[in-house]
Subunit: 318 residues, 2 copies
């Protein structure tokens, strides 16, 4: 298989997580990391091994990527993108930065190179205004951390070429990811909008003293978390509606749903709930340590692989 | 260990799921099922085995529960509750029905018997108005199906005796469940309010044509579902906020959160979105078959046991 040459722009948490994903999953990937921080070499040697088992074995893996030429660190933008098939950007979330960056990349990258931004909020149509071919850019928004979480939201601008969207979808499918293409550039995209809608009601219930922040987390971890890991909300309600499916469900509990919506908290940022929430989360969870994140990630991996195992078994049974 | 004698009032889906949980988990449980449907015996012989592996082995298990006296089916209320430690009600969601039922149960049950309603919406303070001792009643609301899902929302009325709440919590902990006590009798309790808040935004995004119902499910199944199965929303955001925790997160993305809240859909029941949603869910998932539910349940079991395994291992490592 020919090498896929990917250039990552920006080596923050998301950049390194993508680096780990690409190097760990695509045997034929050659990766360039572009970042202007002066200590970039040392930083990558210190941080990237953590994604490959940490300590000595992780360090050996990263060293072998570098010595074999599969991973290169380049601090000149033109050199970094010159031979790329894919440029994936995760720089600062700042409109002028991104608007200036893309024309520069466009100048030096091959004409068939895919241009992806990992932004969580600045649409391709805004980022691309100064590009010669703004139809080349699209958003490829991960769910953190991308080396673990399957979702990839693909958000083309209204003028992004359909062919490029298809190529992008194919790439992520090959990596075993779950790409979902959005048909509109909505504020916050889909995953965050959904999560923030639930967060708003969560904040309200804690602020009203119905449950503590930790108890609310326990509710979610023991009910809709595992449920929605398996079947999303529509499928869940459709399956829970008995013979009538979603229609039966709306008929049976539509009144209750509306009553909950009518009673929902519509708090805004700065309404004074922040103090309660910060106090309760800090009391419950303290300072987050590396070990806490590793435990979370290990459990997430096990949950995801339990899903894959059942899915593979079901597939083979059919 | 002395037998725990539990009477289930109502043998619908939730009643049978609880029956399976109690009989399958508590070796010392003696169960009475009370239901007035005329074909109750046949119905239980046909339906309950499905919770114990189905076909012949499930039938054998249920028959052995009956022949050993661990499971009795009684259609006289006074007989059904006379020797109970716990009466757990899952009858019709109908205020007059429940208000009439409890004084009747109270008349015949032992004075120390716990009274639990599995209602998803009628508070104990409303159900108990005609009881001699309304302070005996509390809501014990499961997340469906209760033989699988860990959450138990415990919702006392303002006058429910604290001692009874504690006994109830202990019982569910012993069963390996996750009881969470609500401090107020809010509309819809906590889990459904949270799920409905997300559902509202999900309906909006599908109604606006941003993604299809099935794509929305794919988003949730590959992102916040598995995430929240492991760490609830507050813990997730606290852990995702870097060194600043939840406070750092609100500072960094508070503006984006507010922008999503401002742009959120505030649809109501009957606003005309139902047709789109029903059409898309039916097209995507069709008629729900027993096999679909079994696959969902099997995957849910595997996800939950992956969590338990990691938790047990972490515990032993400490």
């Amino acid at each position: 298989m020919p090498a896929v040459r990917i250039t990552l722009i920006g080596a923050g948490t998301i950049g390194l997580s993508f680096a780990a994903l690409h190097l760990g999953t695509l045997e034929e990937a050659e990766l360039v990391i572009y970042d202007t921080r002066p200590d970039i070499e040392r930083y990558i040697h210190e941080t990237l091994p953590g994604y490959f088992g940490g300590s000595s074995s992780g360090k050996d893996t990263v060293s072998s990527f570098i010595s074999s030429g599969r991973l290169r660190i380049i601090s000149q933008l033109d050199d970094a993108v010159r031979n790329s098939h894919i440029v994936q950007e995760q720089g600062p979330e700042n409109v002028p930065f991104k608007q200036k960056l893309w024309p520069e990349i466009e100048k030096h990258a091959p004409p068939e190179c895919l241009f992806w931004s990992s932004t969580s909020g600045i649409p391709a149509s805004v980022q691309s205004v100064d590009m010669r071919s703004p139809s080349r850019l699209l958003v490829v928004h991960p769910y953190n951390p991308p080396h673990l979480m399957p979702l990839i939201e693909i958000v083309p601008s209204p003028i992004t070429e359909a062919r490029l969207v298809e190529e992008t979808v194919e790439f992520w499918k090959k990596l075993g990811r779950q790409p979902v293409v959005l048909k509109k550039e909505v504020t916050g995209f889909v995953a965050n909008r959904l999560a923030f809608a639930l967060l708003r009601e969560a904040v309200h219930l804690v602020n009203e003293g119905v449950v503590s922040a930790q108890e609310l987390d326990e509710v979610v971890e023991s009910s809709m978390g595992p449920r929605w890991a398996v079947t999303g909300p529509f499928k869940s309600y459709h399956m829970g509606g008995g013979a009538g499916g979603m229609g039966g469900l709306l008929k049976n509990i539509g009144g209750t749903i509306q009553a909950c919506w009518d009673d929902a908290g519509m708090l805004k940022m700065g309404d004074g709930w922040e103090k309660t929430i910060l106090q309760q989360t800090t009391e419950a969870y303290g300072d987050v340590k590396r070990d806490d994140l590793e435990k979370r990630d290990e459990m997430t991996k096990q949950v995801l692989s339990a899903k894959s195992r059942v899915r593979a078994r079901d597939g083979s049974e059919r």
